[in-house]
Symmetry: C2
Subunit: 497 residues, 2 copies
């Protein structure tokens, strides 16, 4: 039935994707399992893996195959798996061809080395140790951006994570977001909310028990996932039936469960891609913002809702009686939603979170343009944290060194977090239209009506469609910050009502 | 200084070895960390990784480079790293060229699938579940052997693990071994040794504490190793500074520490290869028998010696007071060396161990020749275990399914275990000539004089020399079972003296 040339493409991309996934495994291992002294060689190994993927993608054989498949592609539905694989691969290859193999390899190596040094620099709050690695990473990104024709250099970086989106569009969404957030935060910061029960004594084993109980409701197929502790949490997958979450346990804060639910949202997306797309480059999320919309949905729209904790809180009380024994679910819910400008992005509340992102988005553009000097970065970071959030930065570990992204040379990624917030609520509103009794399901700890909806409308399609097409299919329009602002104002405004 | 063509070779082999090592990481992950449902896709990924390594090794570019480097090679010392890399790569490539890529890929896939099924088959003691996978693996090995010109098909399989050694030589060594062992075992089995303290209650955490204390004496550089629990222990490495041991904890037997010391010996070998050989195909052991000589040395010559336990036993007593509190180190030493024919190879004593191997060596030759039918294997296994060791096999899990090797299609590997025993004592006798006070060092838990000797004479050279050359350099001769038989008879004979 299928075209023999298409079968060739399928085989070739199967192998390409095998190598890409095992390269990703090398990265997972680096962060979760690898003895630290393995770092330097691992950096070279990961660079080689990237190079092999690159070589396979730009190979003449693949180019010829894609050309020869043009008539077959035209004979197919645009929405079919086959047409999508041909279309997306052609786009990937055209983009990849613009970047010399040597540059990609250098980026991979510099990224892996930068990561190793960052771990140590962050531990000792030593920005100077990290500075030359960051400089090198930025210089390499500049050279990378130059490989593309774009309205501005940042467009090229953004396109890797949010294909087709322009920096100018992000600026527009962020401006509307900032306009809504600044007065909202000013108002919400006046709230007197007691969150002392979230600080204290949270032993590891009960944390893991709660995590198991909650992730157990996410509907992962048994024997298909794991979760491990790391410095900076992330999720990845090596097959739809092998998804890996990570988290970070703090023994004095009730916070890891939100990181786990966040990564759980990412993992659900990759876990529920159609098996027909396994071992193809379509077997991942449509874009980072769409990916992040899922992690933020499970972290916040589910994971910070009063409904979900009506089911979950009795478990938490049983596991942490000293902390939660005398606290009502309503007070707990207020505490986990407290708006309070703070130092650390991943611990920020839902309202201030986007300001952390806007800071990074601005700095990335300036670093790339060279209008901000790397050596001056800690100083500028400190100044803007004060200006945007009224926060004192006590040291670089809790300032400019807090995030892993730049250590790997990843610029253009941060904006997708805030865009993910925006999209998460756009999708949530659609779910609520279709699943009328969503809240009462959440109160029973029943996530299946939600996950069934998401699987059918979003997850199973993987990367078949562009982010714009995907969003249009799911919510019937483009990115719009209004639902997110409306949600924040309604939910957070009610906390002290 | 160095030839630019040689630098090209070095770069090319660096990448080849990166891919091979990350392929090995995929195998480590499969056995230690992977959620079981990841198995089918992982099998394909591993097959692809093998294929890429194969393609790079047989590439025309590498062939040309090796040809062009012939004059440079001749200008160098035979012993130099450079000449060795060229020489060994040429040999590897010539061998690899004989095997079609498709066959290698099929072997890798069948091996990974076989492994998955074996785990389940062993758990449920269901040989029939595993049978078709074993049949396929053997058929693939037959086709593999046909790719080579050899005196007998088994030579081709053996050569993968013990390059240059012939099946006939193994038969000869094993015949001499069997002649010495049979009367020795008959005599030693008469000994009345109480080993009841080794069975009982061994909680996990104290086992890990003892393991840490003992591996802590092995001299691994900090941050360069880890050990994880698995079904069937093994050791591997992804860099000289990233070595991975595995072990299996039983809570009712004092046995895991011997598995850990065994894998520790393997790990020390790869950990101590010269850094100059990092990221080259020379960066592994010279052969499996030489590798195994190191694991058996640390498991048995160190790990079952009265001297080492004079240091280690007080720790063990403290950790397991219920089991060892009232037992002298002499009685403990007798117990851990008790000769008693038993079911499980990896739990066998030093004297009967080689008979387990000889059984497998015979069966592998017969399976390959087709003179033994796979369906009849459990029956034949049972008969021969009775004949050789006087042992009843209660089920296949503790019989023919006990070892992982055949599940991955690995035939020709088993003999290297017994050859490793033989070589371990040949080397040990040399160490004792040079390190006169070795015993008193062991009594202090001081392994450095031993490991320094081994690093200098054996480990650092990696795979620069053939196994025969390597053995000649270390012990001044070929394989000889006499020292091993002498050692067994002296040590074990003295236990009840």
């Amino acid at each position: 039935m299928s075209d023999p040339l298409y079968e060739q493409l399928r085989d070739r991309l199967g192998e390409l994707w095998d190598i890409a996934k095992i390269g990703a495994l090398a990265g997972w291992d680096q962060q979760t399992m690898m003895p630290p002294q393995g770092g330097p060689v691992r950096a070279m190994q990961m660079a080689t893996m990237s190079k092999v993927v690159h070589e396979q993608l730009v190979s003449d054989e693949l180019g010829r195959l894609l050309e020869e498949l043009a008539p077959y592609e035209e004979s197919l539905d645009y929405d079919s798996d086959e047409a999508s694989l041909i279309r997306v691969t052609r786009r990937d290859r055209d983009k990849e061809l613009r970047v010399p193999a040597g540059l990609r390899e250098e980026q991979a190596r510099a990224g892996a080395e930068g990561f190793q040094v960052w771990v140590e620099a962050r531990r000792t709050s030593n920005f100077e140790l990290f500075r030359p690695y960051l400089e090198r990473n930025i210089e390499l990104r500049r050279r990378y951006a130059e490989c593309f024709e774009a309205d501005e250099p940042y467009d090229a970086l953004l396109d890797d994570f949010e294909p087709g989106m322009k920096t100018a569009e992000v600026r527009d969404v962020f401006a509307r977001l900032k306009d809504g957030l600044v007065p909202l935060i000013a108002e919400l910061s006046q709230q007197e909310i007691d969150d002392s029960m979230l600080h204290g004594n949270f032993p590891l084993e009960p944390q893991k028990d709660l995590e198991r109980a909650i992730l157990g409701r996410f509907g992962f197929r048994p024997g298909s996932w794991r979760i491990d502790p790391v410095e900076h949490p992330f999720a990845t997958s090596f097959a739809t039936s092998d998804v890996r979450m990570t988290t970070r346990y703090l023994l004095t804060e009730f916070s890891s469960i939100f990181a786990s639910m966040h990564e759980g949202g990412h993992a659900l997306y990759e876990h529920n891609i159609s098996p027909a797309l396994e071992r193809t480059p379509l077997c991942r999320g449509a874009s980072l913002a769409l990916h992040e919309s899922q992690s933020r949905m499970f972290e916040n729209l589910v994971g910070r809702s009063i409904e979900f904790w009506r089911w979950g809180y009795p478990h938490a009380q049983q596991l942490f009686p000293e902390q939660f024994g005398g606290v009502t679910v309503e007070d707990f819910h207020r505490a986990i939603n407290k708006v309070q400008p703070s130092l650390i992005r991943i611990e920020a509340d839902e309202a201030t979170y986007s300001l952390h992102i806007i800071l990074r988005f601005e700095l990335e553009q300036e670093l790339l343009a060279g209008t901000v000097d790397v050596a001056a970065l800690p100083q500028i970071w400190t100044e803007r944290m004060d200006e945007y959030l009224g926060i004192d930065v006590p040291d670089d570990a809790r300032g400019v060194l807090q995030d892993v992204h730049w250590s790997r040379g990843t610029l253009g990624y941060f904006p997708t977090y805030a865009l993910g917030n925006v999209v998460s609520v756009q999708i949530w509103e659609k779910v609520r239209e279709d699943v009328r009794d969503l809240e009462s399901h959440l109160e029973q700890g029943e996530l299946a009506p939600l996950t069934d909806w998401l699987r059918e409308r979003l997850w199973r399609h993987g990367r078949k469609f562009t982010p714009q097409e995907t969003l249009e299919r799911v919510v019937g329009g483009g990115m719009d910050p209004e639902p997110y602002l409306r949600y924040l104002s309604t939910k957070l405004g009610a906390l002290t009502a």
